[in-house]
Point group: C2
Amino acid sequence: MSASIRVTLLAGGYGGARMAHGFALLGDEVALTVIGNTGDDLELHGLRISPDLDTVMYTLAGLANAETGWGVRDETWSAAEMLERYGEPTWFKLGDRDLATHIIRTARLAAGDRLTDVTRHLTRALGIGAALLPMTDDPVRTKVRTSEGWLNFQDYFVRRRHQDDVHEVRFDGIETARPTPEVLAAVESADLVVIAPSNPYVSVAPILALGGVLDALRAASAPTIAISPIVGGEALRGPAAQMMRSLGTEPSARGIAAHYSGRYPNLVDTLVIDETDAAEADAIRARGIKPATAGIIIATDEQQRRLATDLLRIAGLTPR
Amino acid sequence: MSASIRVTLLAGGYGGARMAHGFALLGDEVALTVIGNTGDDLELHGLRISPDLDTVMYTLAGLANAETGWGVRDETWSAAEMLERYGEPTWFKLGDRDLATHIIRTARLAAGDRLTDVTRHLTRALGIGAALLPMTDDPVRTKVRTSEGWLNFQDYFVRRRHQDDVHEVRFDGIETARPTPEVLAAVESADLVVIAPSNPYVSVAPILALGGVLDALRAASAPTIAISPIVGGEALRGPAAQMMRSLGTEPSARGIAAHYSGRYPNLVDTLVIDETDAAEADAIRARGIKPATAGIIIATDEQQRRLATDLLRIAGLTPR
């Protein structure tokens, strides 16, 4: 049997999970490692919740709720009803199946396990072949500044339904947080690094802000391909386009190129944009990034698998 | 409005909950305080579980599962299914609604709240008028010695389905655990102290073993009435009769009298036995305890209410 192509994916929640799923559908052709954002993590009812890791995990396990884009399918809400009776805040919906994940994570962290080890335990128990790595085992918490002041990310994103304009983003704890050895090894050993079509400010940026990650990516022999989270001026999902506007970047594929080339020089080799945005290729090339087109709307399994295959082809890595 | 009769009930789970419910059904006539056994408590999946307190709480809230005698009715089991997928032990069944209770208890204890305060919060949120007091805020853990050696109580009771003969019982932590000020005050201010028809060895004994409780009960002006957990030589529920045999006491109403008078002299003034056991009255009187008969099988609301009323009458406390 020939060796698998080692793909390391930098991922947020929704877009990252779908991209991960595309590579997972290629089976043994790809050895997938997902580096997941943990800046969105929160504590609720004393439980440690890692929304982005869980969205990737549930998606890879075939348990994701396709309608909502978060949580587990065939979910029940009995505990949430009781939590409400007990006067607990209920703006962050926790289903019963989902709760089991948070209960185990919380217990194992309290027992001294690293989030990395807990995540490995959970993903293996669910039969996931890919490695899912939290970007760090240290606490990092994303905050966004809006007209309401600085908000915890989930306050902004879920409780206030990302209605506010974001004027600034920061990652509390990022100065002392360290990427795990597993994360650095996954970058160093990769044949291909992919930046998922996730929100560049709040999903990808926390990973890249961790000390050592950017250096490791630039030093890595693997090419880095980013996928635009913007198609036709709109975000594939969530507030990315609105954030680009309020943060001073045009919400477009070329705006994404401007963002990555301006903020992270010499990081992204190729930006994959949607076929419908092909007219922006020259503007992207002008930023020093190679443009490539593909179908980047990846709602279905087949679209996900095709984009994963296209990325390998774009990187010159045909399945062996 | 005239003052309510202050009843303080020493309670385990099943029998204690039903007796508490009988008094609660009397409404404002009775101000009920339940002192609940916490020797059965356990930690599972990092959660702190208080089975006896919860059985009383769910029963008083009208949420109890009447079929099983534990847990919440209209329960769902989604989290348990996921916990099993994650390889967690599943011999102690935790329903989704029930989990909400344990999650909040665990979080509040971790935040430094006393179990007494957490229990007050939970019971008030469920609209319970009675005061439910854990016997102590300190850790006490009941262990039973069987042919398998010393077992944690829930290992014996739930996992091994109380099939083993119990040769010895101990309460780890009992030497340093203290009854709460609320418990002592509830004993001192009571008009009537009732020992529920709960297992005398593992439900009532932990409460009485707490330093200061027995002295407070003996010093209290209120009479102490115990209800036999044995009817016609059989336990109302659970392993009480089998335990009595293996611990050397005849499983009968008069055996209960022998137990209480021998182990706790000058504690129980009156033992209420079932009408069908009326022939044992003289043997009970010979132990220095007044016998009284009533219907002590209290499966239904009406039976529970009637026994509560009978107890007030037996104590000479007619509803004001």
